[in-house]
Symmetry: C2
Subunit: 657 residues, 2 copies
């Protein structure tokens, strides 16, 4: 790709990282009054190193422990912030910090007077200065998402224990014997593990590894198996599904695989799949099976590739839009598909992976991301988590371009989200020569009417470096943007006359021709004088399709900006999410008005943020809680309810302006 | 039956009821210092009726709400004591009762000063005087167990709601729309109900009944179905299984059925069934299936008999001993069967009834009673609940006679339990003419050596009024007791010589004869001079078997009495539990020393207390919590660990004394 995004993921990481930490003294006054509190952490690393200063901003009410964890500051803890391990000791300056019964058990009266508290029990309701003592355990952290530093606190925990054998004087039950040895967690055991417990304990001479997910004891394994704990993160897309096998003990991805969603035969987008369920009552079951089969095949692929026993995969996290989530769970999506667009629930229950058709550990859990609305689903919530939309004080616009386009706008305090019905243009649908981004698709286009004679004035980037077969979404955007730039398309989206074309761009004017009654611009000619029908071309109707799509999207973010009283220029960063976003040229996106007219430096591709969010949820229970918190923090704006939507839409149809 | 227990259940009810209420001024000083607190309730029923005074004693720390509920005093509540409905308002005299945040939300500062509090949030840690205002709702109560008045607070709740239909301005999810209408409960929904929710809501025009078990929303039903909610209580015995179908809305039993446990072919007692699992690894699965098939057939029977759709049965409660519970759940019972006798868990997890093989509501739950020890199981915990062993200030001895005999002793403060290995004598096992209590079994025996000539000096009560075929447990006890009484058996348990018999009881001396080398007493002769082998008789070895059985039991309660520093005469009531206990003659039980030597008025049959306890758990969440609390309150004494057991056992072998 010769002309991809101007920024790599690595650049984004650095930019986003800065955003996570409040520069001392920088415009705090603006934000402090409007719903965030400031926590100044002094982190003591050891007797020989100077303490580190870190200042973070969080919504009021977040615990000190979470505030630290969310921002990559490590505080001792083994229970994950449940108030049971009594390890997350910090010293808080000033008076008036409430004392809980756990604090009384943990600290001496003198220590309490000195401000010592358990960090997981202090809610930050005002600015605080917090001193963090050196770690007694060594937590590991991983960098995930867009520069998110995640401290490893996976839901999956393993504990190796060597238990005393029972005697007549010690008839504790097998379960109590085990849980007595794991004092920092309050474990519950289901029938599956109780069935295995007596046999495994005795076969292993009472030396076993407890497998714990959250606070559920899901298994006991003979001997010490603490080094093997795996999970799978799924990005369950309407078109493509991606699986990442993670070693949650180290945060390392072990294997990645992707494939087309096996639901494709039922329709390319969510609406056609919902329609399919409405026409035949058996289709819901078949779509559910297809989703399960897709996840199962990918799970099997990544385990094989990673050399991991599927029985050592104890949890999966799935980020999908509301329809994909409903279909995977076998919940009727019809009310999502018709006005007023209502989900059965925004927070799907956790289920067993085996209930979805996955052959992993028999008690492996599958957790789905919650959804903000019928068209701002779990994939977007995962994306917000991965991009830290709620942890960054900058004004940022997040756009996931697709048939349904999700838009999130944050001014550092308020976060709004909406969905815009862009239609299938970006997936290559409804475009004469449109195709998905596969081999043979033109994905990059540069037009240079002043090219040296003998040099091709239309330069094409083609996926797979093969003979061009069609035009994918990013190529479509490039084509229109370039033709607007050189003037062959006017601002209203109409091809100029052939005469005018010869005048302003003689080198390419011969490519502007007709196919039947419709005007087309030939992008690729297999032979210099090939019939237009044999060429890859852009038609007048294609341009109209793209205009409608981009107008829907720009109407969305325009209305969100208005709602927060912001102008284009206030936006400090535009994140283009999803695989389409990663391939789109920021300059072309600006040119056609798909994104606000901003310096291209501010427009960055964020990659597969849904998958990254799913990984974060598996690596950190804190982050998972953060995803649920987004449901409270982010407002959902329903565009179809807006009386001014149509007027705005018409305003946004033109290019330029 | 001409000579059954001297007391009926109804008598017991009255006796036990009195025990629940502290007589004013009666020996309070003795008990108040040793672990109970006294709550004096003044119940105001209305403006025209005088208030009722009730004084109850509970373990310290029990909430005021529970203390009232356990003792049949109704306080308004719809949430079942979770602090969410804010209805259980009471006025507490004196100062120093803590104020919770829920109290602050519920009462004015003046009311708080006047002692108003939510009863479910006040722990009774000292004596309190509590005024209960008139009810604004009308709770129903049922009398269950041994005189236990249970206020109906079943886990199963139904709520009929009429919801607003969604609009673009109100896109709440289906689940939130429903739960918003049920504000006093914090409901969770599983996948099953989420799959039904969208369809049922729309098909029923958003007028539905929520089916709730505890705080789990398990279903939504179209229209108003609040009047139909059922549950089944199971007494899962080693020999016999009893099912009671309950209308939990009224507390009424709708149908009862019983049958032999289908596990019988694998052995008559728990040890033989455990042995069966140890000899063939497939046997555990077959025993599990047999248990499930027994429960399923009974469930089907009671539903048919009661005319109730099985899909309207939303919960079952199962009281069984530790082995029956483990087998029903498919948990390997081997560690229960061999020293040191260890259970996998004392608190089995709640499972779906369908997982046990029952075809009821697909999300109906099955809850098992917790166990105190490997041989004091859930059936005994249920029995303690039904007899109020922990709510009664009297010194009471509870004995469930069987192959394994469970014994519980309470002095009104401390409760001890143990298990005595009585062996199969009481089930008719190891007895020459022994049989189960079925048609043809001699169950009552009266011997009158001074009977008028022409009158039979041995009067038999036979089950089914048919020709006697054998001797069941109560007949065995009667036979031995009567022969000891008339002197044909001496105190050591030996038949006296035929010469001596002719002297002291000439009318029956001819029945004392020999069969082979063994001396026998002929109980029933089909013809006057029938061969002894054709008769129903009691052999010398039968007497030895009974001696061993009764010595095991009396050693058990003797050691418990010693541990509490009590004498026989301190015992105010002996409860004989189980079907065997109901048929046993108290006088005979005293005569052979199976129970302490007490006036027979103090010895009462308590009936199927395990089944009654299961009913209570279904009718009242409070009572269910009470069952779990017993695990903390009751100490388990392991007899096989006692160095003095054998000495005591030998002392107890003799009759009389």
């Amino acid at each position: 790709m010769t002309d991809g995004p101007d920024f790599t993921i690595a650049d984004v990481v650095d930019v986003a990282r800065e955003g996570l930490i409040e520069p001392p003294g920088a415009d705090q006054a603006v934000h402090d009054g409007t719903g965030r509190v400031n926590l100044a952490f002094t982190v003591i690393t050891g007797p020989d190193s100077p303490p580190t200063q870190r200042s973070v901003r969080v919504p009021p009410g977040v615990t000190v422990f979470d505030s630290a964890s969310w921002n990559g500051i490590a505080i001792d803890s083994t229970c994950g912030g449940h108030g049971t391990c009594h390890k997350c000791r910090v010293q808080i300056a000033g008076e008036g910090v409430p004392i809980t019964r756990h604090d009384v058990r943990t600290f001496s009266p003198e220590q309490l007077d000195d401000g010592w508290r358990l960090a997981c029990l202090v809610n930050a309701t005002r600015d605080l200065a917090v001193q963090v003592p050196p770690l007694t355990t060594r937590p590991k952290a991983a960098t995930v998402g867009v520069g998110r530093q995640v401290i490893l606190h996976p839901a999956i925990q393993k504990r190796y224990v060597e238990l005393d054998e029972p005697t007549l004087a010690d008839q504790r039950t097998d379960l109590v014997r085990l849980t007595d040895a794991i004092t920092d967690l309050e474990l519950t055991a289901d029938l599956h593990v109780l069935r295995r417990l007596p046999t495994v304990l005795r076969a292993a001479d009472f030396k076993v590894t407890a497998v714990i997910v959250d606070e559920d004891l899901i298994d006991v394994e003979p001997g010490d198996t603490t080094s093997t704990r795996y999970a799978i993160a799924f990005d369950l897309g309407t078109t493509t599904v991606v699986a990442t096998l993670l070693d949650v003990g180290t945060g390392t991805p072990v294997a990645v695989a992707s494939m087309l969603n096996k639901q494709q035969p039922f329709g390319g987008d969510v609406i056609s799949r919902i329609s399919a369920t409405m026409m035949d009552k058996d289709t819901l079951g078949r779509l559910q099976e297809a989703a399960g089969a897709t996840l199962a095949e990918l799970a099997s692929d990544v385990c094989r590739e990673g050399g991991v026993d599927p029985a050592q995969v104890y949890e999966v996290a799935i980020a999908g839009n509301a329809t994909m989530t409903a279909l995977a769970l076998g919940i009727d999506p019809e009310p999502i598909g018709v006005a007023p667009f209502v989900m059965a629930t925004s927070q799907p229950p956790s289920v067993l992976a085996t209930d979805l058709g996955l052959s992993l550990h028999p008690r492996a859990r599958a957790v789905f991301f919650p959804a903000l609305g019928a068209y701002v689903g779990g994939d977007i919530v995962a994306g917000m988590l991965a991009t830290g939309m709620d942890r960054d004080k900058r004004t940022r616009l997040f756009i996931d371009v697709g048939t349904n386009c999700e838009i999130v706008l944050s001014d550092g305090d308020t976060i709004l989200s909406t969905a815009a019905p862009a239609g299938p243009a970006f997936e290559g649908g409804a475009i004469r020569c449109g195709m998905r981004a596969a081999d043979g698709a033109i994905e990059v286009i540069k037009v240079d009417p002043a090219a040296e004679p003998g040099t091709d004035p239309v330069i094409l980037g083609v996926i797979g470096d093969v003979e061009p077969r069609g035009l994918c979404g990013s190529g479509l955007v490039d084509a229109v943007a370039e033709l607007v730039r050189v003037g062959l398309l006017d601002d209203s989206g109409r091809f100029i006359s052939e005469e005018a074309a010869k005048e302003i761009a003689p080198a390419i004017a011969d490519r502007l021709t007709k196919l039947g009654e419709e005007r087309v611009f030939l992008l690729h000619r297999p032979t210099p004088h090939a019939d237009p029908a044999e060429c890859v071309y852009l038609s007048q109707r294609d341009v109209r399709e793209l205009q409608f799509a981009k107008a829907a999207i720009s109407t969305g973010w325009t209305l969100l900006l208005e709602q927060l009283g912001l102008e284009h220029r206030d936006i400090q960063q535009v994140l283009l999410a999803g695989s389409f976003g990663s391939y789109l040229s920021p300059a072309s996106a600006v040119r056609i008005g798909l994104v606000p007219r901003l310096p291209v430096l501010r427009i960055v591709a964020a990659g597969n943020v849904a998958g990254e969010g799913a990984k974060m949820a598996l690596l950190s229970l804190r982050e998972r809680t953060g995803a649920t918190a987004l449901l409270e923090e982010v407002a959902y704006v329903e565009l179809s309810d807006r009386p001014d939507f149509n007027d705005k839409f018409v305003e946004q149809l033109a290019f330029g302006g």
